[in-house]
């Protein structure tokens, strides 16, 4: 009797444990008894959930048999855990991904469904969704558009009679004028996003090529080549002249932003994604975008740098690909994308978008300019990416540009096999 009791308790305990384990591994993408299909939408933009939920509600009204379950992770978590979740197909029938290393890894794992023949692709600006294409096929559609170049305070520029310069000498002169007048020329978040953002516009005309870093990763070009040593030398020039705020290597994104928002700095080395946030914190602020031109005016090929990101795809392991595509098609309608843009303050990659805020129009004005896809995102190996941005930190910390380039190249050489 005692044994019987013991056995039943053991079975009960095991059942409970299994229930706990299995319910944790539950599938959120499923069909219910009433014939409704539930699809999962996985992304990292927690700040956009309200805007997306409104869009989802509209979609569900138009498609009563489809329910969209939105799940968000922080961007750090997204980098680290999204691939595991997507691989087993349990979540993310429609999912977002970062361009560069994450897109390359997910693409290699065959997690994207071919979207080449989908009619909604015509709604996008073809040049801006290139980054989601591979081997002649469209695997993902980047939804957001960002210009990774400094933001400037137009009132400060006006006060000192300054205009965005067209060459390197002009840029140095502009910084000198600002400094002489007690204004920090560039607020630079050297501790985190600064090097990775500002390097893009600094390098775009020193080596006006779409694939220079692809060549570096393939061993066909080196960081010790003139283009990168020159870029590092120009970073050093800005730093040595005191054109970044003091101790810029210890400054994080939020603190650099505060210097700009408070009017202590005239330029903020970040990107257009920051415009709406700045305006929210200081509604009086008048902002625009510029890019440092690091060569003479006649040698400049690019005017700025753009990134198409938040790359939406349909999971190849989804049990409901038709419904997932339907949702992606809905997101790809210009009026829906306009709604998303205006509610979140993010520019989008679609055509015929009506932006209703000055910040969105600032970036919108850059659509017709000659911009280069963000060079940093063409570095697919994150160890290499870190070596490149760390070489900027090394120079700002006092290393010679040649030495910093050599040290970074040594790390890249180890990655090339």
């Amino acid at each position: 009797m005692k044994n019987m009791k013991m056995k039943s308790s053991l079975v009960l305990a095991l059942t409970l444990l299994l229930t706990v384990f299995l319910s944790a591994c539950g599938n959120s993408s499923d069909s219910s008894a009433d014939g409704k299909v539930t699809i999962s939408f996985l992304h990292w933009r927690g700040e956009d959930t309200q805007a997306f939920q409104k869009i989802i509600d509209q979609f569900e009204t138009k498609n009563p048999n489809i329910k969209v379950d939105m799940q968000t992770l922080t961007s750090d978590q997204y980098q680290s855990t999204a691939q595991a979740k997507l691989t087993d197909g349990s979540v993310g029938d429609v999912f977002a991904s970062f361009p560069g290393a994450q897109y390359a890894a997910l693409s290699k794992a065959g997690l994207y469904t071919d979207l080449t023949n989908e009619s909604f692709l015509k709604n996008y600006n073809a040049d801006l969704i290139d980054v989601g294409a591979k081997d002649g096929k469209q695997w993902a559609v980047p939804y957001q558009l960002v210009y990774n170049q400094p933001i400037y305070n137009t009132e400060i520029f006006k006060k000192y009679n300054l205009t965005p310069p067209t060459d390197w000498d002009g840029f140095l002169k502009l910084c000198a004028t600002l400094k002489q007048n007690g204004i920090i020329p560039i607020a630079f978040a050297g501790a985190d996003i600064g090097p990775g953002q500002f390097m893009n516009t600094m390098v775009m005309n020193n080596e006006p090529s779409e694939d220079i870093f692809t060549k570096v990763e393939a061993g066909q070009a080196k960081l010790t080549d003139e283009f990168w040593v020159k870029t590092l030398t120009q970073f050093k020039e800005l730093n040595d002249n005191g054109y970044f705020q003091e101790n810029s290597l210890g400054t994080k994104d939020a603190a650099a932003g505060a210097l700009f928002i408070q009017g202590k700095a005239a330029m903020l080395a970040s990107g257009s994604y920051q415009l709406a946030q700045n305006a929210k914190q200081n509604p009086e602020l008048k902002q625009a975008l510029l890019a440092p031109i690091t060569v003479s005016a006649d040698q400049a090929k690019y005017e700025g740098v753009h990134t198409s990101t938040f790359m939406l795809g349909v999971n190849s392991r989804s049990k409901h690909p038709t419904e997932a595509k339907k949702f992606l098609e809905f997101l790809s309608q210009p009026d829906v994308a306009s709604q998303y843009a205006n509610e979140t303050g993010q520019n989008v990659t679609l055509k015929d978008i009506k932006y209703d805020s000055p910040e969105l129009n600032i970036a919108g004005d850059w659509a017709d300019k000659k911009t280069l896809f963000q060079p940093r995102f063409t570095i697919l190996n994150s160890e290499n990416q870190k070596a490149v941005t760390n070489s900027i930190q090394a120079v700002l910390g006092g290393a010679a540009p040649e030495q910093a380039a050599q040290d970074a190249q040594a790390i890249i050489d180890q990655q090339i096999k």
Binding site: L10, K108, S382
Partner: protein
């Protein structure tokens, strides 16, 4: 209690331990011999090349030396600071009990919160530390605390000590309370000075507590991840990169799970060796005490 009942009570813990520790560790060992990217369903066996690449890696070596520097700084300073605090606050008066609670308080905060708070304090332009130094006429001592490659690791070590010295103080206080008062009294009657009492009576009897503090701090500081991840993410220019942040970046930013697994295995062995050394010291300390 019979054997079956014992197994019954052990089973949930054993299952959890197997599922959450043993199985992942064995998987890690398996994947360390592959080139798995963490996403694909296929991978190739690459023998010991991940281990060779780890030992050859410039960044891995930098991370290892940073790890040792960080660990030594924290172990030495944290042990001394917590011992001094314990000696000052050992007696049970109302003020001292309040101060003990106050110094212990940072230990209950999550390390991510601690990291964020100190990031703001350390900010060179708007941070509390430089602002206080400047307003106190000590401008020459302001610095880029986490931006200067020469001091960033020590600035984070300071935060680690700030967060855990109070916790270790409690261990020392427990040790001090276990020392019989008669021994102190006998030493005082014999005319021993305060320093002599500490050296000849307190310290030898405090050895087991000291061993616990040193062992715990060694392992804790060697495994440090959250503070560094939040405050500098290994920067500037690898100055604060340690093995755990390096392994994390390899796995979750670079999708090199095979290589990251090899790094984890090396890290596991290093931790194992450290633990064994500590265990031996602990037994010796216990025996002596």
């Amino acid at each position: 209690m019979n054997r079956k009942t014992l197994w019954f009570f052990m089973l949930p813990g054993l299952l959890l331990y197997t599922g959450l520790f043993i199985y992942p560790a064995l998987s890690g060992l398996f994947y360390s011999f592959t080139n798995w990217d963490g996403v694909s369903t296929s991978y190739d066996f690459v023998g010991i090349s991940n281990y060779k690449d780890s030992f050859d890696s410039i960044v891995f070596r930098k991370a290892f030396f940073n790890n040792v520097k960080f660990m030594l700084t924290v172990v030495i300073i944290q042990t001394i600071v917590s011992l001094i605090l314990a000696l000052i606050l050992a007696k049970n008066t109302r003020t001292r009990v309040f101060l003990r609670a106050l110094y212990f308080f940072p230990a209950i905060l999550s390390s991510v919160s601690v990291g964020l708070i100190w990031s703001f304090i350390y900010d060179p332009s708007l941070g509390l530390l430089n602002t206080a130094l400047t307003s106190g006429g000590l401008e020459q001592f302001t610095a880029s605390w986490t931006g200067d490659a020469n001091i960033a690791l020590y600035a984070i070590a300071f935060v680690q000590i700030w967060a855990h010295a109070g916790q270790m103080m409690i261990v020392f206080i427990a040790g001090l309370h276990a020392i019989p008062e008669e021994l102190m009294e006998a030493a005082r009657i014999d005319g021993a000075t305060r320093f002599q009492i500490f050296r000849k009576v307190t310290w030898p009897l405090l050895a087991p507590s000291a061993t616990i503090v040193v062992s715990y701090t060694t392992i804790q500081s060697f495994k440090a991840f959250d503070l560094i991840f939040v405050m500098t993410d290994g920067g500037p220019n690898y100055a604060t990169e340690i093995l755990t942040t390096y392994i994390y970046h390899l796995a979750f930013s670079n999708y090199s799970f095979g290589l990251a697994s090899a790094g984890s295995m090396i890290f596991l062995v290093l931790l194992g060796l450290l633990t064994m050394a500590q265990f031996k010291a602990l037994r010796r300390g216990g025996a002596n005490g």
